[in-house]
């Protein structure tokens, strides 16, 4: 008798309290872990852009120096080596 009375109570409790709690709990966790604020995103964008531009400029400078001074054996890398470095960075 007692069982039949408790089953709907449990069911309603789980459905209307437990489930939303679980969902909201993970939603808040996910938000805390993942969100990047708009400012962060913009900063990251600028940094990425700056790094790419600087890399391009530095590569130009290195090529000019290498052309002027044949003994300059810098980090002037061949394209293959650059690709390899890029791959290592990705992995």
């Amino acid at each position: 008798m007692a069982w039949e009375f408790f089953i709907p109570v449990f069911a309603i409790g789980i459905l209307f309290l437990g489930l939303p709690w679980l969902v909201l709990h993970y939603v808040t966790k996910w938000k805390q872990a993942k969100t990047l604020t708009g400012e962060d995103e913009q900063l990251l964008d600028e940094l990425y852009d700056t790094a790419r531009r600087l890399e391009g400029r530095l590569q130009t400078v290195e090529r000019i120096i290498a052309a002027d001074h044949p003994d300059f054996r810098p980090a002037v890398r061949s394209d293959e080596e650059l690709a390899r470095i890029e791959m290592n960075r990705r992995n």
């Binding site: 993942k34 990047l36 708009g38 962060d40 995103e41 913009q42 990251l44 964008d45 940094l47 990425y48 790094a51 600087l54 890399e55 530095l58 400078v61 290195e62 120096i65 001074h69 300059f72 810098p74 980090a75 470095i85 960075r89």
Partner: protein
């Protein structure tokens, strides 16, 4: 700069239907073929929930702004940011460190080079 790069967009340029699968592929970096196969399989084998979800997403999500990314490399970079921002940050840091090292090489070359030249001039006197 106004459009967020960490939002989910419908990818109308590569769309088969509404661009939901293409958008998911663009967002996550998983090949679009697998997303589409999974979507169709789930629809066939499961209930109609995938279809409902598909239409809801197609209805609510915005279309991707034109020319959000300048090139393929940038798109890949932002895929990385979406999946793991801290790794992307480290990635940029290592790029700057590499730049620093290469600049230091150039500086060292010029300073030591001039020093050698100065030594030679000195020896000629």
């Amino acid at each position: 700069m106004s459009a967020s790069r960490t939002k989910f967009y419908l990818d109308k340029q590569n769309a088969k239907w509404s661009g939901v699968c293409a958008g998911i592929a663009e967002y996550s970096g998983i090949d679009v073929v697998w997303i589409r196969v999974a979507a169709v399989m789930l629809t066939v084998m499961g209930s109609g929930m995938t279809l409902i979800a598909y239409f809801l997403i197609a209805w609510f999500a915005d279309a991707k702004p034109y020319a959000l990314y300048a090139n393929r490399e940038e798109a890949q970079f932002w895929q990385g940011v979406r999946s793991n921002p801290s790794r992307s940050t480290r990635d940029i840091k290592s790029r700057f460190r590499d730049l620093d090292r290469r600049l230091a090489d150039i500086e060292l070359y010029y300073t030591s080079h001039n020093k050698r030249l100065a030594d030679e001039i000195d020896s000629l006197r």
